[in-house]
Subunit: 410 residues, 2 copies
DNA sequence: CTTTGTTTTTCCAATGATTTTATTAAGTTT
DNA sequence: AAACTTAATAAAATCATTGGAAAAACAAAG
């Protein structure tokens, strides 16, 4: 049922606005908040008192006077509550305790041991129990658990709808965790989490229309439209890897033909490299792995690129072209302000950016390319946990009005 | 600046909820509204009194008793205000007066006379002045003017950014109209308007994720994500016609190669028909136009299809395949609940639906196809004006909270 | 050092939207 | 006709906001 307006609502809204302001632009004084928000100084004072009571905000010294009483500065207190973030990937389960700024306090990584399906889930539940014991903090200070995983996720109901690699189908994970531990739980797709992380904690925040592309074992996209995640009807939106770039191409596991994922991902690149070597091409990559090409990693490939290896560059150019074709489609469909690349193959890889930029500039409508940025992720190593935290924080702290028009008067 | 919470806000919100309820589910009694909305009966009474005062709602007899006093039924009164809707297409300008349910009271169609650029705009302004004189109603009863046109439109600022066919570039139409007539003005892309029309007035409303595909001189898409139009950073989203389905194909005016628009639109179909005839193929289409194939219309083509004409069916199958490739991409990126077809070539054309459905079923991930509907538009002839009205109504009457979580308590 | 003026913050009464409680209106049922 | 139901309104209570006044804390001028 739609929420109706009452006094509680305006209070929550104003608290949320003020907290947001302190988080993003703090430290700030009460009077500064009042000026920026157009709320009365009185309202700000009472709201801030509540936030201090809730230990979300604290006073922190005074600022410089502007000719009168010194302002008391207020800052966000991220350390009085904690978040449990969980990432389930094909090979490992990561659990971390974080503060409200997604800073990691404690982290554990476990192998999935090749398990799939229900086995992974019951193992996960054990691990959570174990982890809660390790950190040994009052559960009422825990804002919640946030789980991210690959595949199609119904984040509204907290159900993993479909994850072929881990063999998940319709697993009500949110319910399972909430019932066992009595902690509010969030669940989302991993790429959605990463784009939220970029929005909240990356260098490229403030954008309302952005796309995150992750290149790794597969190819995925997280997409923000009008400031909210494009999830689609049942969480299946953003399956960029299964969009088509070639009608007569490789047949994909998904049933379609010519899915871009078969051209743009580490396995595709790797097999290109292997076949080139088999055809007798020279490359420093063989040296980088001391002759054992089966040990070649994405980092080696990027290393070779940056050393000017011809084979590597050729393979990259081919991949870049395929990728760019897909990106041009995304640009035409979403008109984003920024496209962000994630995945090891994209880090420290200026050539990729350059090639892709060039192609997109040639092929996209000028008006769509003008303001477009294409950048690598700015989050660093812990992007997975930051992503998990972002899912929770976005939902928990965001509270905004879609529309503020007055009802028409006669 | 973000709107803060105050008493006015909750009042507007509640009025809006109540008005919405009466519009969509009316006639309703006050007590029924109170039950459904969880607002107190008193609040409903005062809100309804305001709405009656504003002439947006009226009482209309009594309902059947449920064992006590008969309920007084309330209904939406769409006829006490009016909307001026305007559509600018390549060949014609349409202006209509409509009530708040997008029912047309007066409509005029003018040729653009082959004019372009500023000429069209100054002509348009003349036409509006003329039209206002014709209808001769108090301007304070006019909710606003809503203009829709092709091309890339910055609906937020009311600027036509780019329309190559009419040679518009950065025309601040909203400002021009508002300053000349002092009436609030909306501006949007035509396809966005059509999808909003389907959402508000079509058979397939209530959906939060939907796509409208229009096939005509070109190929366009209007896309609703999470209940709001996917406009992108500067209004350029939804350029479906310029997404790629073939890397080595026809070079498009836009600079890209293999844009779907060059395969799926009436001109493409028409030229296929011509070349087939030139190669000596037989078709009843020549008879339908009494031998003058240059007169062939989309309606003739559909007619031929429904009469089982082999050539027409072949051409349609080819187009359907290309279209479906693009649709599969859309399904993977947006996971919509429904795809709606507009344009003359799609009306009364079950074969198109069947072919497309079959292809999408084969190629899309099962989980994305399961709930998907593919349907022709349900709006009838006046879809353009209904679209224009919908843009205004969506913005004017929608007032909802994105999020209603409580701020975290310590 | 004192006075004056400024800025920041808080207190208090007033406003105005909601809700709760009570009342009136207008029925149905026995 | 009396008793019971339901619908709509009225009066009073609640509570988060605002505006104005007051208090706190400080800078600058004399």
């Amino acid at each position: 049922m739609r929420r109706t307006g009452d006094l509680k609502l305006i209070q929550e809204l104003n608290r949320s606005i003020i907290l947001d302001m302190i988080r993003k632009d703090g430290p700030l004084s009460r009077s500064e908040i009042a000026k920026r928000s157009n709320l009365s100084p009185t309202t700000v004072t009472t709201a801030v008192n509540d936030l201090i009571q809730d230990r979300l905000v604290s006073e922190r010294g005074t600022g410089v006077s502007n000719g009168g009483r010194k302002p008391i500065l207020l800052q966000f207190s991220p350390d009085n509550h904690y978040i449990i973030g969980i990432s389930i990937s094909n090979s490992k389960i990561t659990i971390a305790e974080m503060n409200l700024e997604a800073r990691i306090r404690c982290k554990e990584v476990y192998s999935t041991r090749g398990h799939t399906g229900e086995q992974v889930i019951s193992y996960l539940l054990e691990l959570i129990e174990y982890f809660i014991n390790i950190i040994n903090k009052p559960l009422d200070l825990c804002v919640g658990v946030s789980v991210i995983t690959q595949g199609i996720v119904d984040s509204k109901n907290g159900v993993i709808r479909y994850n072929p690699k881990l063999k998940f189908e319709n697993i009500p994970l949110k319910e399972l965790i909430e019932q066992k531990f009595n902690i509010k739980t969030w669940l989302d797709n991993d790429t959605n989490a990463y784009i939220l992380a970029e929005k909240h904690f990356g260098l490229f925040n403030h954008y309302e229309n952005m796309i995150y592309i992750t290149i790794g074992e597969g190819l995925g996209a997280g997409i923000i439209v009008n400031g909210t995640i494009n999830r689609g009807h049942n969480g299946g939106a953003g399956e960029f890897g299964h969009t088509n770039i070639s009608n007569e191409g490789i047949k994909c596991d998904c049933g379609n033909i010519g899915c871009i994922e078969n051209y743009v991902c580490w396995p595709a690149v790797y097999s290109r490299i292997l076949s080139s070597i088999a055809r007798g091409k020279q490359t420093i990559m063989t040296e980088l792995v001391h002759g054992d090409i089966s040990q070649l990693t994405e980092l080696n490939f990027v290393d070779a690129l940056n050393k000017g290896d011809e084979l590597a560059i050729n393979v990259l150019e081919e991949m870049s072209t395929y990728l760019a074709i897909g990106l041009v489609n995304l640009v035409h469909l979403f008109n984003p302000q920024i496209i962000i690349f994630g995945g090891e193959i994209t880090t420290n890889n200026p050539l990729l950016l350059q090639k892709v930029n060039q192609f997109v500039k040639e092929r996209a409508l000028t008006i769509l390319y003008e303001d477009l940025q294409i950048q690598p992720s700015s989050l660093g190593k812990e992007f997975e946990m930051i992503g998990a935290a972002s899912v929770l924080l976005q939902d928990k702290f965001q509270f905004k009005l879609t529309h503020t028009e007055e009802v028409v008067k006669g």
